[in-house]
């Protein structure tokens, strides 16, 4: 066995005195990543949110087809966006930001409070929309605002790290969008009680796009710039498209939301065009990673390609709906509802796909920490042992078909199609959640007796250099 040495490294394999400072960043212990229960709690709750969101769409299909702003329809949408997407993405961030920023959360206890409070918000708010009592909506709105402020404070620890590059920059922006989005939501919720201003549809759309594009969209686009090259072993000669994606989506969303909020079509169009550039750059970035990959495509990429299809559909629907005089007002309402659903499909499939990477690696780390080193078949434990690839594909088929049916049903005003789509999405939630939750139990072996209580040998040491440190 021989070393393949990096060009220009000057490494010879011969004895050489260590350079002072190379390990100055200190031990590479599990200090940065939070305990496994933090992200896994969020993600398990998000699985329940997907199931609930699917059933919500099923139950509210008639309302969604007739009037997307009906309280029953708004309730279903909030379950999907809050209980599934926001809870899931927050969970991923509580894992991703500390690992990439190499700096821990400010407080693990605060992360636990965030899980509980966010899940409570995500279910109480839609419950208030659906059947009251009236005070429940503003109460849940205020709880949600307090929760995201807590989350933003907690995440500001790793997000203030000087390492991490574009992904962390994007997350700082998206974190700001999260607070702004929930602040909007809290004001709107209180407005239902106090009647400060009429809650017109363009104002609701401003709120929706702040959340879907600014909070969830920028988060996904930024994180993808780290995860995609890593998962595909893709080293691109240039990655300008990623920078353009994050910058354009972040800036365009603010402009578009302002135009929608104040009903100024020119401003909304301008912002939408910039958003379109950002989303296009995001797709170019995906294509670049695929082109420069060094390994086979796998189930994650099926999710990513299906997800990318939904963002194209969303952009098309938005353009058609907003084009002056092209469609009637009732059809415009349907198309805009379908556009929002397509954005949920874009983000939802992306979350599901990445969950098949994130959950196994967290489970793997937790199992290794317990001394489990082999699979149930006796092979060395791998991520692939911790979930079923067939079930992952089934989740993709169900989720993709479900979101597509919801979009199609909303655009065409077909409640039966919407209901079928909701049922398929809920089933996808069951399949994916069961697959990822049960995978470690099925796939992992038991720790050898010799490793269960083994203490680490005193003579080994692991240190990590800073990104610029050279040996």
């Amino acid at each position: 066995m021989e070393l393949r040495q990096p060009p220009g490294s000057g490494m010879t394999g011969s004895p050489r005195p260590p350079v002072a400072g190379a390990g100055s960043a200190g031990p590479l212990g599990p200090a940065a990543a939070p305990p496994a229960w933090v992200p896994l709690s969020f993600l398990a709750a998000a699985g329940a949110g997907l199931i609930g969101g699917g059933f919500g769409v099923w139950f509210a299909a008639d309302r969604l087809a007739e009037s997307p702003t009906h309280p029953g329809a708004v309730s279903a949408v909030h379950v999907a966006v809050l209980a599934f997407l926001t809870v899931g993405v927050l969970g991923a961030l509580h894992q991703f930001a500390p690992v990439v920023g190499r700096r821990p959360l400010r407080s693990t206890r605060a992360a636990g409070v965030t899980v509980g409070a966010m899940v409570a918000t995500a279910w109480l708010l839609p419950s208030g929309f659906a059947h009251g009592p009236d005070w429940l909506v503003p109460a849940a709105g205020v709880l949600g605002l307090a929760t995201v402020i807590l989350a933003a404070w907690n995440l500001s620890g790793p997000l203030s790290s000087k390492v991490g590059g574009l992904p962390l920059w994007g997350l700082r922006i998206s974190g700001g969008y999260l607070v702004v989005t929930v602040a909007f939501g809290a004001v709107y919720a209180l407005d239902r009680e106090f009647g400060w201003f009429p809650l017109l549809s363009h104002r609701v759309l401003a709120h929706a796009h702040l959340g879907l594009l600014g909070w969830l969209g920028v988060t996904y686009v930024a994180v993808a710039e780290k995860l995609w090259p890593m998962f595909l072993l893709a080293h691109r000669p240039r990655a300008r498209s990623g920078l353009m994606a994050v910058a354009s989506l972040a800036s365009g969303t603010a402009v578009a939301a302002t135009g929608l909020l104040f009903a100024v079509p020119v401003v909304a169009w301008l912002g939408a065009l910039v958003v379109g550039v950002g989303l296009g750059a995001h797709l170019v970035s995906l294509a670049g990673c695929v082109r420069h990959r060094r390994r086979r495509l796998e189930v994650l990429h099926g999710y990513l390609f299906a997800s990318a299809g939904f963002v194209v559909v969303a952009a098309t629907l938005a353009a058609v709906a907003a084009w002056p005089g092209l469609v009637s007002t009732p059809l415009r309402v349907q198309l805009v509802a379908a556009e929002v659903a397509a954005l949920v499909g874009w983000l939802g499939l992306a979350v599901l796909g990445h969950a098949h990477k994130i959950v196994p690696f967290i489970a793997y780390s937790a199992l290794r920490a317990r001394g489990v080193t082999s699979s149930s078949t006796g092979e060395p434990l791998m991520f692939a042992h911790l979930f079923s690839v067939r079930l992952a594909w089934l989740g993709l088929v169900l989720g993709g078909a479900g979101f597509a049916a919801v979009v199609w049903g909303l655009a065409g005003g077909h409640p039966d199609v919407i209901a079928a789509g909701g049922a398929a999405v809920a089933t996808a939630g069951v399949v994916v959640t069961a697959n990822l939750a049960g995978g470690p139990r099925r796939g992992a072996g038991r720790p050898p007796a010799s490793e269960r209580h083994a203490a680490p040998p005193p003579s080994r040491q692991v240190t990590v250099g800073s990104p610029g440190a050279s040996p």
Partner: protein, 110 residues
């Protein structure tokens, strides 16, 4: 003369590399030597220093692979002190993959 002092340096390096060859990347299913993640093995008396990297800073297994490397080295070289250092310069690139690793990963060699 102690047992470890009798070992030739090359033998220790070879044993270290053989041991490191048993550390598998749990995502890719390949060992860290074939992946080109082990940059250097230095033996100075009883001290064995290993410089290794990861495919990218912030790699999900950033906390696992170096710890596993240290564990297998300690097991393989019980009379030596082992130091595993994670370094980021020069950054890892796919060109460091061994031909066999490239073949195992798929079909992209360019």
């Amino acid at each position: 003369m102690t047992e470890y002092a009798a070992e030739a340096e090359g033998d220790v390096t070879g044993r270290a590399l053989t041991a490191l060859g048993g550390v598998l990347d749990p995502e890719l299913g390949l060992d860290i030597v074939s992946l080109g993640l082990v940059y250097d093995v230095r033996v100075t008396g009883r001290l064995v220093e290993v410089d290794m990297t990861l495919t990218t800073p912030g790699c999900p297994v950033a906390e696992q692979l170096p710890a596993q490397a240290a564990a297998v080295l300690t097991a393989a070289l019980p009379h030596h002190q082992v130091e595993v250092r994670v370094v980021w310069q020069p950054p890892w690139t796919p060109e460091l993959l061994s031909p066999a690793a490239l073949q195992r990963l798929g079909y992209r060699t360019g």
